[in-house]
Point group: C2
Amino acid sequence: MEKEVVLDERKMKILQAIIKNYLETGEPVGSRTISKYTDLNLSSATIRNEMADLEELGYIVQPHTSAGRIPSDKGYRLYVDNMMLEREASLLNQEAKLADREKEIDEMKEFLTEKVDKVETLLQNMAKMLANNTNYATMISGPHLHKNKLKFIQLSEVEDGKVLCVMVLEGNIIKNKIIAIDEELDNEGILKLNILFNSTLNGLTLEEINLGIISRMNMQAGKQLNLARNVLEAVAEAITSEDDLQIYTSGATNIFKYPELSDSQRASELINTLEEKQLLTNLITDSESEEEKGIQIYIGNETPVKTMKDCSVVTATYELEDGLKGTIGVIGPKRMDYEKVVETLKNVKNQLSHAYKKEDTDGDL
Amino acid sequence: MEKEVVLDERKMKILQAIIKNYLETGEPVGSRTISKYTDLNLSSATIRNEMADLEELGYIVQPHTSAGRIPSDKGYRLYVDNMMLEREASLLNQEAKLADREKEIDEMKEFLTEKVDKVETLLQNMAKMLANNTNYATMISGPHLHKNKLKFIQLSEVEDGKVLCVMVLEGNIIKNKIIAIDEELDNEGILKLNILFNSTLNGLTLEEINLGIISRMNMQAGKQLNLARNVLEAVAEAITSEDDLQIYTSGATNIFKYPELSDSQRASELINTLEEKQLLTNLITDSESEEEKGIQIYIGNETPVKTMKDCSVVTATYELEDGLKGTIGVIGPKRMDYEKVVETLKNVKNQLSHAYKKEDTDGDL
DNA sequence: TGTTAGCACTCATTCTCTTGGAGTGCTAAC
DNA sequence: GTTAGCACTCCAAGAGAATGAGTGCTAACA
């Protein structure tokens, strides 16, 4: 009777060595390499036996008969779930890492202390920096507005029949919409509407406004009911239409640094996905549903975006202020430097929330 | 003594045939092909002689000894300057072209009649449509704001120490900025500032405001001088910072449809240029300085953007309203379908200005 | 004098064949 | 359980050789 093959500690070590080596070189790794590379002091023959087992268990694959092994998706998954933690605790390269980290944080702070008064610009800059630092493609989704509270709303007549509606949300995100109205509106009317809107709507989220706006307002509109209705509907529509997800991407061309991604077909699909940013919404939705995990790692087919099946994606959710949440993502080859990416993402996440709050209180907007 | 080689009519016809054939196939074209292709009824041997002359004149080149000829930049230039006009007048394919054109216009109108209240969205949509229709990469620059007149300006206090400044420009382009101020501002103060700003600044261009704002306003600020100064400076700065060029791109991945552009190196550079949109400002500046020509064609090295030296670029300047000008560009391989692109660009140009004016008058904003 | 047929020549492309090397799997010995 | 040794596989790189598209040149023709 065959002895059952199980994943013992030695196999783990060997697998880890294979993966680490492959992440560095991008080349299939052979038994001889591992034999020398590890402190296990085993001959290549022994390693070969173990590798055969690892392959049987599905953690590694052979591109072709006479080649070394490369990690399978399952292998990466094991690595990411179990082995990365250990390695993070190890002290190897710790100094170099710290230096890198500091440099990164400095760079971030540079962005954040520059007078960036628009969240849009800030996020775009962050995406760019992240892409530069990681050498992968990046994306950042703007905060979800529907959960964001309205801080201030103002109507003003720009010209006859056209009313400008400005909405300021928590975090000083500004949205505007020009609304066409049929009726005449005098200054007094506008003033009253402004007061009405501000007293009724402020502090509510867009979502809440959208749901209850009409009924709620009708009760208080009084003699201006007709007029208010018109504007109301327009505002409701304006709010709805402002509620779509902004997505910023950067570093799309970084994928050309990885041969396994840079053939025309794949590259074209990938870059197109990054250009047509809306194709990334799946990723954001999924990543946010897993939010409690903090950092989410998708390997190969796990990614909710089909065009990225040959990539790995690491995402994090940031929070600027209460409820002002968005997603950051790094897209690279499956052999990406998960450790570094995870660490960098944690940094960005912290910096983003921290800096934004600071910015919000010291008034240096 | 050698007889001087000149570009007679027959040579022109042959050159034209070569170029047209090359535009279609993308393959070097040989003498035999031309011999059959044209109505000149000349043997391939004769064509060969003529081709040798054309090469000597610099209109065509041979990729290698035993290959056919392809047009040189000089050849394309001649074609674009002289031959395209003739062909445009010809009736060949005219019907098919008309159908195409109609389809295109319909598609554009679809975009334009949809409620697109933001110029940003409109232009992004146009870029996308243009990319889809031409199969090349496209860019559109937003209108230059510094020549645009201020229509309406409004300050309002969002929270203590923070004032929201909303500017509406001609064409209902809305810009906002949150301004931090040290001093207290009561409602009355804001009201007065608003009146002051609107009466003084409306109708001026950002440029004009920027230049004369301080001196002009100081005269009328009266007792609020100190306060006004602060806000003024902030507004001036806001205006300046809003004055940078918006650029929208689309269809970057279309370049993968042309093998001569899709090797990693070139593709990466190109796509990067399109991603880092600011690298395109050269192109816009140059194209606008040549504006009187209507449509501008850059072939290969003529392009003011270095990374596009293997491409051709066709640009047009559009005008939404008085002074609201921007640039549209199509970026493709040198063997792009100049005729089609020029025609399409003319359409877009017309549609853009026409539709926008309509939008502006029928109130369906 | 312009045009053409014919021929030798060039050169990219494609194919096959060979070689080298990296790496494996298996077996037998320790 | 571990290891040395060996046969085997298969990719990658290189060398010819064949193919064929296309040219340049020359000599003959109208």
